[in-house]
């Protein structure tokens, strides 16, 4: 074969795509032809260069978490039943599921069943707190889109368990992550979160269990900037409107800092008023294009109180334009 004859096969040869016989024929020519040999080399270099140009790109941790949340919700919704028919490539082009989460979720789908009960209790606590607070947080409209009516007894024990984990979840190694003073905390969070209001909630009040349109949950492990991991819960709820609400419960403020780096998670934050009790969790409710999310973290009472700021949700919603339904829900939570 001469150069002209072999040119048709050079790219496929460079890519290792030729059949044995053709490959040998081209090889015989390339070995003796420096020009064709260099063309082959160039194609291989080009392939390598394109590959290397994108090799540094990795899926953002927030995306991993978002996908994990969506799959988790899918699992809960379908009860573990997947599509069994049809080739995957022609899978139903349904819209993407909503959901988001922390930056780095290592495992999310474990222990689905027990955490389901925890979710019910946590949501009940939040709901009941809002009702008790009356004027402080609005006329009980916080989760008006959700309907919880369950009475599973195991939920109490599980809620207690997660509460204890969280209340003890500030190891010495993580203390440096907690702001040293209320002022520092406020500056820290205002810089990270922007327009925020925080709501502290007592988990110790768990005494009844309810559930409703709960869509799924899992125990998850998060890793913060320093490589520390902690365990939390990711709770997914589905509104009748189709919106997804997630509650992420983690025990370290440092994890919150990590979460705020997620591009979709830093935009809107709704802030609810805290209680001044000793045992409490700070819940940051924030809105993003994929839904409304709640993040729980233990903060000492002075810090929590210091974090109370005038609600600026209107600004946040105006800036990022969540759906009217979602905006109404959030406004209800802060009594607007």
């Amino acid at each position: 074969m001469n150069c002209r004859e072999v040119s048709k096969y050079l790219n496929a040869f460079a890519d290792g795509e030729l059949e044995t016989r053709d490959n040998l024929m081209v090889l015989d020519h390339v070995k003796l032809c420096p020009a064709c040999c260099e063309k082959v080399s160039l194609q291989q270099q080009l392939r390598q260069a394109i590959r290397l140009s994108a090799a540094r790109e990795q899926a953002p941790a927030a995306l991993r978490a978002r996908i994990a949340g969506a799959l988790l919700a899918e699992t809960a919704t379908t009860g573990g039943e997947g599509e069994s028919a049809g080739p995957p490539a022609t899978a139903d082009p349904s819209p993407p599921a909503a959901g988001t989460g922390p930056q780095r979720v290592i495992r999310l789908w474990r222990y689905l069943a027990p955490i389901t009960a925890v979710a019910a209790v946590l949501m009940f606590i939040i709901l009941s707190r809002l009702h008790r607070s009356g004027d402080a947080v609005g006329p009980g409209t916080a989760f008006a889109l959700l309907d919880y009516t369950d009475t599973r007894p195991q939920a109490i024990a599980l809620a207690d368990r997660i509460y204890r984990v969280h209340s003890q979840g500030l190891p010495a190694a993580a203390e440096d992550q907690i702001p040293a003073s209320p002022g520092e905390a406020a500056r820290y969070l205002s810089g990270k979160i922007g327009s925020t209001v925080l709501w502290c909630e007592r988990l110790a009040a768990a005494g009844r269990s309810i559930s409703g349109t709960f869509a799924g949950a899992g125990v998850c492990e998060f890793t913060d900037d320093s490589g520390r991991t902690c365990r939390g819960a990711r709770l997914v709820f589905r509104c009748p409107t189709g919106e997804t609400i997630s509650l992420i419960s983690v025990p370290q403020l440092s994890v919150m800092r990590t979460l705020t780096k997620a591009p979709h998670d830093t935009r809107d934050y709704a802030i609810l008023k805290p209680s001044a009790t000793a045992e409490q969790m700070t819940v940051v409710a924030f809105n993003c294009p994929m839904g409304t999310h709640f993040l729980c973290a233990p903060v000492d009472p002075p810090t929590a109180v210091a974090l109370i700021e005038p609600t600026t949700l209107a600004h946040a919603t105006a800036t990022h334009q969540p759906s009217a339904t979602l905006r109404g829900t959030l406004l209800g939570m802060i009594g607007r």
Binding site: K8, S53, E83
Partner: protein, 186 residues
């Protein structure tokens, strides 16, 4: 107990970075890319019980779903119409006989000089060319796998790949000439 979540995590999730990289280069923005990837994995999860790993490797399977999601979202048909110049590979024979004067030519190239230009060159390819090129280079799929992912004949894969490489080579050669780069040993 249904072990689909665990199996999916073991088999599909390790390819998240691969799918993301591909989506990132296909989509116009990071937000769009992330949405593509999320929908891809959601569809894959729904169809996972029907997935045969032995018949179809997990990565090509996921990339095929990404392909369909991308073209569905872009308003294209999942099986795109043949490009006007999308001749089969055999029809390229005459073109291949033409002198390759516009290309980079042969030799050793200092690719670091072309890093950004190379990215731009890839991004500016027609989507159909870009996808094939990326599946070939980034994902290192075989021609046959690319054909299956894109739902096009093998000859079309080869012709698109040829044209994509040619366009990139021409652009990089022009870039080198303009800047007097000497990274190429002619």
């Amino acid at each position: 107990m249904d072990d689909r979540p665990q199996r999916f995590e073991q088999i599909a999730m390790p390819h998240l970075d691969d799918v993301y990289r591909m989506a990132r280069r296909l989509a116009g923005s990071q937000v769009e890319a992330e949405d593509l990837v999320q929908e891809t994995f959601l569809r894959a999860y729904r169809a996972f019980d029907g997935f045969d790993l032995r018949e179809y490797g997990a990565r090509p399977w996921l990339l095929k779903i990404l392909h369909n999601v991308f073209y569905t979202r872009a308003g294209h048909e999942a099986r795109q119409p043949t490009l006007l110049d999308d001749a089969g590979f055999d029809n390229l024979a005459g073109e291949l006989d033409q002198p390759d004067c516009g290309s980079l030519g042969a030799g050793k190239v200092d690719w670091e000089q072309f890093d950004e230009e190379l990215k731009d060159a890839v991004d500016e390819l027609a989507a159909e060319y870009r996808e094939v090129l990326l599946l070939w280079s980034l994902e290192e799929l075989s021609y046959k796998e690319i054909a299956e992912v894109c739902g096009i004949p093998l000859g079309t894969v080869m012709s698109r790949l040829y044209r994509a490489r040619q366009q990139i080579s021409n652009r990089l050669a022009g870039y080198a000439r303009e800047r007097g780069l000497h990274g190429m040993e002619r």
